[in-house]
């Protein structure tokens, strides 16, 4: 057997290339910079484009422009960059511009700690845009996930015509590790549906789907706008048209939520406790669970790889048979409230830590044993 050896950021870049990404614009920021570095090495030989914006706002603008010309665009940043991306993210959400945003999270708030990890942005990614329209946020736990989820992210972006976030973490992005790259089976590549009829209206669509795409620069004239628009892409003040569009933007993601739900589980026979976690923390949960089993105290675990839309059905189904639910997060409790909302008939315990270091398996064992 031969193993590959790379950091999560490189794996994410390789996944993006495998997904058909052909445009990257970004601005250096620790701990996301090496995604940019890798794309800069990988895109030119593939005939793709990789540029550095004058700032984060511009980088997102380049991606939006390129995506509207038909490119599959990726950008990468960390929390402070997401802050700057915000106005452009709102544009991409509301105007259905497909692109992938890697957020290699670091310890916030604000500039925080450049080289310390945390899952700082879990709510920020969901709500850091105007309007509250749903977004898709995937979360890797290791380099292998970075590779595979990059493909999922592009596929979702293309299908739903929306920005898709990959919520990585310094502890994944900048940790180098081995995995069996050659035997990975990637999801089949999805490309945005192109319009094929006559009389193109850029935002005309079925009530729960993204509209078919045509690029700016193609034979058919395309209108794109950040303003509230009707199917024709012109400003509208018609309440019904506005309501229908808002509803569709929500529905196109909400109605597909179970298909967007990605997870791993380890359900152990005879266990009454389910630990729910995501990202790098899931790996400490795995170790803790193995050690607890050896001690005769088996616990089950659920590792979420889709955080938004909230995998409500999955949570309800998986939690059903468990007496005790414990949520562990590398922050002071951002996602636990979603889980409490969904599992409102259960007592959901929580442990969180926000100090720049990983939550250890030992700590998780203590949480479990400390009933």
């Amino acid at each position: 057997m031969a193993l590959s050896f790379m950091e999560g950021n490189e794996a994410l870049a390789r996944g993006a290339i495998a997904a058909g990404c052909n445009f990257f614009a970004g601005y250096p920021i620790t701990p996301a910079t090496t995604i940019f570095n890798n794309m800069l090495k990988m895109l030119p030989p593939k005939g793709g484009i990789c540029v550095q914006g004058e700032d984060e706002i511009a980088s997102m603008g380049y991606c939006i422009g390129a995506a509207m010309a038909g490119k599959k665009a990726l950008t990468a940043t960390s929390g402070p960059g997401i802050s700057l991306y915000s106005e452009q993210i709102s544009f991409a959400i509301g105007s259905e511009i497909p692109l992938v945003i890697a957020d290699v999270q670091r310890l916030g708030p604000s500039t925080g700690s450049a080289t310390r990890g945390a899952d700082s942005d879990i709510q920020f990614l969901r709500w850091g845009s105007t309007s509250g329209i749903p977004v898709i946020v995937l979360v890797p736990k290791d380099a292998l996930d970075c590779y595979v989820l990059a493909v999922n992210a592009f596929n979702f972006a293309e299908e739903f015509r929306c920005p898709v976030f990959i919520a990585s973490n310094k502890e994944i992005g900048m940790t180098r590790e081995s995995f069996d790259l050659e035997s990975v089976i990637l999801p089949e590549i999805v490309n945005r549906e192109l319009f094929s009829g006559d009389a193109y209206l850029p935002f005309e669509s079925e009530p729960d789907k993204a509209p078919p795409f045509l690029p700016i620069g193609g034979k058919t004239l395309v209108r794109q706008t950040s303003s509230t628009h009707g199917p024709d892409g012109y400003i509208t003040i018609d309440p019904q048209v506005i309501a229908d569009n808002q509803d569709r933007l929500r529905k196109k993601i909400h109605s597909a939520r179970n298909r967007i739900t990605l997870h791993e589980e380890d359900i152990k026979k005879g266990s009454d406790t389910l630990i729910i976690s995501y990202g790098i923390t899931s790996r400490a949960v795995e170790d803790a669970s193995a050690k607890l089993e050896k001690k005769g105290r088996p616990v089950s675990s659920l590792s979420l790889k889709t955080l938004w839309p909230v995998p409500e059905d999955l949570l309800i189904n998986k939690a059903k048979s468990f007496k005790r639910i414990i949520v562990i997060e590398m922050n002071l409790g951002q996602y636990v409230n979603e889980i409490r909302r969904v599992l409102n008939d259960k007592k959901v315990e929580f442990y969180g830590q926000m100090n720049g270091v990983l939550i250890t398996p030992e700590t998780i064992m203590e949480v479990v044993e400390n009933e």
């Binding site: 057997m1 603008g61 939006i64 509207m68 106005e87 940790t175 690029p215 700016i216 990983l358």
Partner: protein, 432 residues
Amino acid sequence: MNSYLNKNRPLVYCPGCTHEKITKGLDIAFSKLNFDADKTVIVTDIGCSGLFDTFFNVHALHGVHGRALTYASGLKLADPELNVIVTMGDGGLGIGGAHVLAACRRNLDITLIILNNFNFGMTGGQYSSTTPTDAVVGSEFLNQAEIPLDICAIADSAGASYIDRCSGINSDLPDKIIAAVNHKGFSIIETLGMCTGRYTKKNKLTPKVIDQIIADLPERAGIVKKNQRPEYGERYRALSKQRTKFPEAVIIDKQIDLKNYQQQQVVILGSAGMRIVTAGDIVCYAGLCAGMNVSMKNDYNITVLRGQSVSEILISPDKIGYPGIESPTVVLALSDEGVQRRKKIFSSLQKETFVLKEKSVAIPNTCANVVEIDFKELKIKKQDWALASLGVIAKHKKAINIDMLTYALKSRFNETVHKMAMETINKIFNHD
């Protein structure tokens, strides 16, 4: 002449607004240029100038305030065949100043038409970055404490290769636009105009006054000689084309069969400049040569040549979960800074833990098995201490052995570096 104006979208400007003249001027320019509508895009942002895209039968992208140039750049990079025209008011100019500078500096083949009407028309006539100090605007006294900027002068110093300024009212406007569009590179054309809904109500601004303002400012003749250079897109593509080698992933074949290998946790404590991360890499390669799973976490400051550098490596026959170090099996103490960073680990080290300490480095009390080495005496340079210490652990068969290390160095380095590295390792092996 063939008009590009959309008959279903009549112009909606205030009577007398110069924007209307400029819209019509742009249409004449398009007609004279005989542009293919499907290869032309108007990119706009917010404000009255942001209505431009709605009036034309060409591709359109209307975006967030001040950011039009960012979308335009993405479009032009993605589709070099597109004619990209950006309209922007003095509002977008102020809010997106960084993008104007970058566009001037970059020289991508885009035409920026600035519609300067000296105030924010849409929000109530507030002052903008171009409002004269003595103007009466909707911002009480605020403009009296600032001065307006001259975007043409700024563009000149920012490297714009084509700059022009003209009245939005004069009949030579279409020809001025045509000349700007025909320039290969970034062209910027500042039009001065009247906001009849707001600005001219309290300020005397007539076509004649506009002509006088332009006459009083330094003349702009289009081509800026000193800033001529290749267009960015062409330059970018030429440079990018030279990069032909795709960096394939590092994949290490299993070369060595190890019996009963137990998980190892290696901590290398050093300083920036000691090639700690490279040493960590080599330890990982050594594990990979033996078919093991590996992970490496590095801890260093954002300062480059100063401060601690710590590498934490796991080598395991099983899949690695938690990538942190819980109980080290090998600790390499190579600098005081590095030791200080992880000083807490020493008191809890196991008896079996192998600690290699360079003679000059102080470590806290520990019950671990401490081996001291004097690299200085061996005439090994500080930047090679981390590498040399790998020789020491291989010699003691801790975490790695000499076969693993040899394979690792071979896989990690080119021939020259490999030879030098082996010299250092041999020094260790030949020393008692």
